[in-house]
């Protein structure tokens, strides 16, 4: 069994002393070993009895050999011995005493390499049912990082053990080596390259510490932090900073095996499991911050945002797991699918070809396939959709080998390389050809015989004493045959059994005939030997004459019918085929709610140019090239700004774990594909503050966005906007309504809430001082939580605080006063009216609900007159939604301030436009109709405060993002597009596609006290 030793043996030695400093020496050793193997083989393993000697030399001749994706040698020779390729080429001499296989008509390829595998390192997870209290600190014993999701010390090579059945499964689809690692945690440690032979690990382990692996998923860690995607991002950022600090640390105040390992891995390729187009962009941003270019593991939806993916500059590892065809023949069930599901089903097989067209470098993985046997089928589908065969081979061999730094021994058929190669019946990327054998480490694997005779074809019986006319048809795959027999007029079908040199079939009720056999051997007349068996036990020797060779039928995939690729932005219902353009527009003869001193102006025109409001007045000069929107009878306002929103956020609105999480940023997790963006545009909303939730006293940083539907998350952010952060008070912070499990986190009372603030701001002050005192020589540990708090102290970041009861509102203002800053906004602030005088004195603004109350104890005294009272006390007051449904009716909510408390229409209207702009420090650029401000305008069918008002047009930066008339067309498009794809699905089912029952997406809409992040895992996995 031990075919070759020194090479791999050395490698495993390297591994045992394993660390990357030794890697450089490999090259030297390899050179040494290549010479050494020619002479003799050595092994540390003692033989029990007689040593088994491996001197076999295998020769494959007459094959089409794909050296790599660029070179094919036809009728060439491959020589393999002791697990390695001895020589390859045309016209090379065949060594004596070698075992020679004639592979005429067959193809040889380098075995594939899967860069993304957990082969042999699957760690059994503990039982997932868990009843204990929440865990805030690490339970990991030993000198490791504070958070259990950071485990760079994890070393796949140490955990690796061969697994015969797993290996066989992936060998069967052509893989010969994999990059394997432990799929657990955010920093997952190092991977190992192993080959897929069944040998002892000493021979299959090629390299350890090959790449360092990352993800956004905390895996088996039971620690509360991080509970959201933004938390995972923040944790990873802090880990990079801590590692830097640790590396420079001379005093070693604290030791950490995790950070030590993390630093050791810096120079390795870093692979990030992003599994979504936006997560690729998110991960890339982290990489940019720390000078790391990740290789991204994707989920196959990159085609939806190819420009953004390109700008990440990362290589990709791409799966071929397309969505299974849903069975949509029952229309009621088809209704469960949304257009984005349908579109993705149609487009997923195009992903690879789109990546190729855009010159992205990628490897292909089989990792996400539930059934590995679908790998070649799906890969061929991608080829049908335009992926070149050359690129397919490159993505399975050369590319992964290069990315993993093993292109000197894997990924090609070259002299001295490990003997990993596939022998296929034909072009492996064509239908009906299959892997005959997969040689790994020079050992043949596969159920099929290299010299399997092709029995397929049509035969007639030449001679028989008892039967006259018999026709036999043999078809199917070469190793899985089926037969049809016709005896006179009787036709019977059956499966076939392959023997060593023959094939047989047995029939029932076939006019006395029971079985037939065809032998591979022929007589002089080129007729095949055969045998007939009869029901009465008699048998007869016969001959078969082959009339026709087998011709495979090509089945047309339903998908081939697609004429053009259609991607919208976002790729779902109401997405734009073409993004809105900046327009020169005049809203003529409108009633304009200026929010300025002029108040409401009747019969005026408003000119929009270069994204800004250019002119307002009864008689303004209208440029000849301006598009005129007749606003007669209509009302034009500045757009609604929602001060408190949780739409458009991916995977958790709360990092509801630790008491203070000022380091997490909603800006990291904006979801530009949320349909609620479009819905709110239809309600006249142009901008929103996407707030962190209210699960902790010091929450995360918010993101200010304009609802630029169709653009990427980064492009939705308002450039140059001030930084804001969410604080929270009261029941949510005290975990009052979280259930009995949650009773150990500090604070559990309002007394403790105050102390949290005093404590953290005291720390922040100390940190600020330390940072100031630090010189270039100081090894200063940057703490992202503290930096965020220091920004507050330095008036560079502003607090929006979730608040209900008067006492704690008062308290936070005192804390702020004592630390020399001002609370910017109290949000909810339902008892604000009780301390309005104190709020006025502090100079804080208010963003409240029009009429919510009684949903928990602390809002028992909430009143709908709150906004009116606050306004009358001279406080900048806004009305917000905190609700995706109400967010599109904020005009109605503003009207309630008119109803409850009698605030004038103009002032009530400002509460959803200018006032939130002021609270968000955006009033210089938006919030009113004023020359020079951004053209963020909404055209209403009538007085926007009326229940009858509808939005005609919503414009942001001079671009029209919502238009009632276009919306009608969109609805029609959605219907037509849905039906087109549903028909394709039915066609695919009829064409033989396996189907599954349609499932509705489980979508979450967030409120600020929403703790659940169940989509967190759903979306990532």
């Amino acid at each position: 069994m031990h075919k070759y030793s020194i090479f791999l043996g050395r490698c495993s030695n390297l591994y045992i002393f394993g660390n990357y400093y030794f890697m450089k020496k490999i090259i030297f050793l390899v050179v040494f070993i290549v010479f050494a193997t020619k002479a003799f083989t050595q092994s540390v393993f003692p033989a029990n009895g007689i040593k088994k000697v491996d001197n076999d030399v295998f020769v494959f001749k007459n094959a089409n050999i794909n050296i790599d994706e660029n070179t094919v040698l036809s009728n060439a020779i491959l020589i393999v011995s002791k697990g390695k390729i001895i020589d390859v080429g045309s016209g090379i001499s065949i060594p004596k005493n070698s075992i020679v296989y004639d592979l005429k008509g067959k193809n040889i390829y380098p075995s594939f390499i899967d860069m993304y595998s957990n082969y042999g390192v699957v760690v059994e997870k503990e039982n997932s049912t868990f009843y204990g209290g929440p865990q805030y600190e690490t339970k990991q014993k030993g000198a490791y990082y504070w958070n259990e999701a950071i485990k760079p010390e994890q070393d796949a090579a140490r955990l690796f053990s061969s697994n015969a059945s797993q290996a066989e499964e992936i060998r069967n689809i052509g893989f010969g080596a994999v990059n394997t690692f432990v799929k657990d945690g955010i920093a997952r440690g190092t991977s190992a390259i192993v080959t897929l032979s069944d040998q002892k690990e000493n021979y299959t382990l090629i390299n350890s510490k090959v790449a360092t692996m990352f993800s956004f998923n905390k895996g088996s860690s039971r620690q509360e932090y991080p509970s959201s995607l933004m938390g995972a991002i923040a944790l990873l950022r802090q880990t990079y900073l801590d590692a830097e600090w640790f590396e420079k640390s001379k005093e070693n105040q604290e030791n950490s095996l995790s950070l030590y390992a993390f630093n050791q891995q810096k120079k390795l390729p870093s692979i990030f499991e992003a599994n979504d187009k936006w997560n690729i962009v998110r991960a890339d941003k982290i990489g940019d911050e720390f000078g790391v270019q990740y290789i991204f593991k994707t989920n196959g939806n990159e085609y939806q945002r190819i420009e953004e993916i390109k700008s990440c500059n990362g290589k990709l590892i791409v799966p071929v797991n397309y969505p299974q065809t849903p069975d949509v023949e029952n229309p009621a069930e088809a209704d469960l699918l949304e257009l984005d599901d349908l579109k993705h089903w149609e487009m997923a097989p195009y992903n690879l070809s789109i990546l190729e067209k855009n010159n992205l470098q990628f490897a292909i993985t089989a990792s996400d396939l539930k059934s590995k046997s679908e790998f070649l089928i799906n890969l061929r589908k991608a080829i049908d959709m335009g992926l070149s065969k050359k690129m397919a081979l490159k993505a399975l061999t050369t590319n992964p080998a290069q990315m993993l730094n093993v292109s000197d021994k894997l990924g090609a058929i070259k002299k001295g390389y490990i003997a990993n190669f596939i022998i296929s019946s034909g072009d492996i990327f064509e239908k009906n050809s299959y892997v005959i054998q997969n040689w790994v480490n020079g050992i043949p694997y596969g159920k099929n015989n290299l010299e399997q005779f092709d029995f397929r074809g049509n035969y007639t019986l030449v001679n028989s004493s008892s039967l006259k006319k018999v026709e036999l048809k043999i078809e199917g795959e070469i190793n899985k045959l089926a037969t049809t027999i016709k005896v006179d007029t009787l036709t019977r079908k059956s499966s076939a059994t392959l023997g060593s040199y023959n094939v047989s079939s047995t029939y029932l009720n076939c006019g006395g005939l029971n079985s037939v056999t065809v032998y591979e051997i022929k007589n002089d007349k080129e007729e095949f030997f055969g045998k007939l068996y009869f029901d009465d036990g008699k048998e007869e020797e016969v001959f078969w004459k082959k009339n026709a060779e087998y011709i495979s039928e090509k089945k047309d995939s339903a998908l081939n019918a697609i004429a053009s690729i259609s991607i919208t932005y976002p790729n779902m219902a109401y997405g734009f085929g073409e993004l809105p353009k900046e327009e020169k527009v005049v809203f003529s003869n409108v009633t304009a709610w200026t929010n300025e001193e002029e108040g409401v102006l009747k019969n005026v025109s408003v000119l929009v140019d270069k994204g800004k409001i250019a002119a307002i007045g009864e008689k303004i000069s209208i440029p000849a090239d301006a598009k005129i929107i007749n606003g007669t009878g209509l009302h034009l306002t500045s757009g609604i700004i929602d001060e408190h929103s949780h739409i458009a956020i991916s995977s958790g609105v709360n990092e509801g774990s630790n008491t203070a999480t000022a380091e997490v940023r909603i800006g990291d997790v904006i979801n530009s594909d949320d349909i609620n963006i479009y819905r709110q545009l239809s309600g006249g909303v142009i901008a929103a503050q996407l707030l962190h939730g209210s699960a902790n006293a010091i929450g995360g940083q918010s993101a200010l966005i304009k609802l630029r539907w169709g653009l990427s998350p980064e492009k939705m952010k308002i450039a140059g906007a001030d930084g804001f952060i969410k604080f929270a008070l009261g029941e949510n912070v005290k975990q009052s309504n979280w259930g009995d499990r949650y009773s150990i986190r500090y604070p559990q009372s309002r007394m403790g809430v105050e102390q949290v603030y005093v404590e953290y701001f005291s720390r922040a002050r100390e940190y600020q001082q330390q940072k100031k005192n630090a010189t270039t020589n100081t090894n200063f540990r940057r703490d992202l939580l503290m930096e965020s708090l220091v920004e507050i102290l330095e008036k560079k970041r502003f607090i929006t605080c979730h608040s209900y009861q008067q006492g704690e509102i008062n308290m936070l203002m005192h804390v702020a006063d004592s630390f020399g800053f001002r609370v910017n906004t109290f949000t909810h602030i339902l008892e604000g009216y009780k301390v309005a005088d104190k709020m006025k004195k502090h100079g804080v603004g208010a963003s409240t609900f029009s009429d919510w109350w009684a949903y928990k104890f602390e809002v028992n005294d909430a009143i709908p007159y709150n906004a009116a009272l606050l306004y009358r006390m001279g406080i900048v007051t806004a009305i917000n939604s905190d609700d995706p449904e109400m967010g599109r009716r904020l005009n109605q909510e503003a009207a309630k301030v008119f109803k409850y408390g009698g605030v004038s229409e103009i002032e009530a209207w400002k509460m959803v436009t200018l006032n939130p702009a002021k609270l968000l420090h955006l009033d210089k650029i938006t919030g009113s109709i004023k020359v020079g401000k951004d053209a963020d305008l909404v055209l209403w069918s009538q007085n926007p405060l009326s229940v009858m008002a509808k939005v005609e047009t919503t414009m942001i930066d001079g671009r029209i993002y919502y238009d009632a008339k276009s919306d009608v067309l969109q609805r029609e498009n959605i219907r037509v597009e849905r039906q087109r794809i549903l028909n394709l699905m039915i066609k695919a089912k009829r064409g033989g596609d396996k189907t599954e029952k349609p499932k509705a997406k489980n979508k979450r809409l967030y409120h600020c006290d929403d703790l659940s992040n169940d989509t967190y895992l759903d979306e990532l996995y």
Binding site: A332, Y833, Y855, K856, N860, L869, R978
Partner: protein, 435 residues
């Protein structure tokens, strides 16, 4: 002892200063005339410059030429010039009175143990002293169908007026119908009720299995004679077959609606009602054929999925109106009790999206009364009916103009003050704000 008395006195005095809720109104003693009003009859008609006369809680006369001489000196004459008079709004399918503060478990009387509770009657738990009720009343909602939640068969709803000393006084109809949560094939967006979802997964039963179990139960109830061993649940269900109780089927998808109505017809259940009915526009013909009314999903709801028209629920009422389906608007969903005061504005939104103004009003008055079976007495301002009505200075369906000045339940003059107004006045005084 003296100390206790002092405390008691202090409490009494305090209650004058600030009462938790207004005192229920006394019986109507004197005849009332509202004159010069814009009268919204509630049956689709509007009468300008109208007068209404009511006495002993009953409407006696409606007309346009009010003659002062015809009434006695004790008659209370209200001049409603330029103001609107509406029938009291009827809130169907709501948990008002069964929950006070959602997050405080002790204040919730919505759910009973187990999944089959037809015998649980909401009126028993109806909390007439709720602080929420007066705030709802202040916007013109005067009658509620108080409805339990959860489980497969949630329980029986009851119809009550919103001004009473106790539930018996408030009752208009006890156990008017049984509420069933129809199983769904797969619908995370609808039926957002967590308890229901949890139960569904615990049972792990398929759609068909669960329906079969319901059919079994109803068949038993149909054949229950009362002479056997007493079965409270079957006894409670019995009324479905003689028409004394309605069957409120909470169902959103059209296939559910088809199945529910088919079951009711086969089992001869007299009065089925669909509650929710998000996809009722896809089941028009069966709703029409069997005259099954619909209590529509809250109009202020997000569309059922990303592909749906963004104004899906806004325009659904107008679609049903056009098809001639009897429907009403209701407020089931998040914060349904405290948010119930927004019910008139659902009608307002429906009006913006295609309902005629008076049709929109019907959707929260006479239609609701018809569906829950109290239209002989409530739901419109017509002679012989209960004087349950209110006066608003402007259009009550628009939040900008809804301003209820006076309200009457069975002729009784309701105190429209509430906890929130009290706080408003108290703090306005504190800050010296005049309004």
């Amino acid at each position: 002892m003296i100390k206790n008395i002092t405390i008691a006195l202090v409490l009494v005095v305090n209650s004058f200063v600030f009462s938790q809720r207004p005192t229920p109104a006394a019986e109507q003693k004197n005849e009332v005339v509202i004159k010069n009003a814009i009268l919204h009859v509630g049956n689709g008609k509007i009468i300008e410059n109208a007068f209404v006369v009511f006495d002993k809680g009953i409407i006696k006369e409606i007309g346009t030429q009010f003659n002062q001489a015809t009434v006695s000196a004790s008659t209370n004459i209200i001049d409603a010039s330029g103001k609107h008079v509406y029938p009291g709004i009827i809130a169907t399918n709501n948990s008002l009175g069964l929950t006070e503060i959602e997050a405080v478990r002790a204040t919730n009387d919505l759910y009973e143990v187990g999944s089959i509770n037809p015998n649980a009657n909401s009126s028993i738990a109806f909390f007439t002293d709720s602080k929420v009720i007066p705030t709802v009343r202040s916007n013109g909602i005067l009658v509620v169908q108080s409805t339990p939640r959860g489980g497969f068969i949630s329980g029986a709803s009851s119809i009550l007026n919103l001004d009473a000393w106790n539930y018996e006084d408030a009752l208009i109809k006890s156990a008017d119908g049984i509420h069933v949560n129809w199983p769904d094939i797969d619908s995370p967006n609808f039926n957002s009720d967590d308890k229901d979802a949890k139960e569904k997964s615990e049972k792990g039963n398929s759609y068909v299995k669960r329906i079969n179990s319901l059919i079994d139960l109803l068949l038993k109830a149909k054949n229950y004679s009362g002479t056997q061993e007493k079965d409270l649940k079957l006894e409670a269900l019995k009324g479905l077959f003689d028409g004394s109780k309605k069957l409120y089927v909470h169902a959103q998808r059209y296939n559910q609606i088809y199945d529910a109505i088919s079951m009711c017809k086969k089992l001869e259940i007299v009065s089925p009602v669909i509650v929710g009915g998000a996809e009722s526009k896809k089941a028009i013909s069966i709703l029409k054929k069997f005259n099954v009314p619909v209590m529509l999903q809250r109009a202020h709801s997000l569309p059922p999925n990303a592909d749906a028209d963004i104004d899906y629920f806004y325009k659904l009422p107008a679609l049903l109106q056009k098809e001639g389906i009897l429907f009403c608007l209701q407020y089931e969903g998040d914060m349904e009790a405290m948010g119930l005061r927004n019910l008139p504005f659902l009608a307002g939104t429906a009006m913006a999206y295609g309902l005629e103004p008076e049709q929109a009003l019907c959707a929260i008055t006479i239609n609701a009364a018809k569906i829950i079976g109290i239209d002989k007495k409530y739901g419109s301002i017509e002679v012989g009916k209960s004087a349950t009505l209110f006066i608003s200075t402007g259009n009550a369906l628009d939040m900008m103009t809804n301003n209820v000045e006076q309200a009457f339940i069975d002729g009784r003059t309701i105190d429209l003050n509430n906890h929130q107004k009290e706080l408003y006045h108290r703090y306005s005084q504190k800050y010296g704000i005049k309004h």
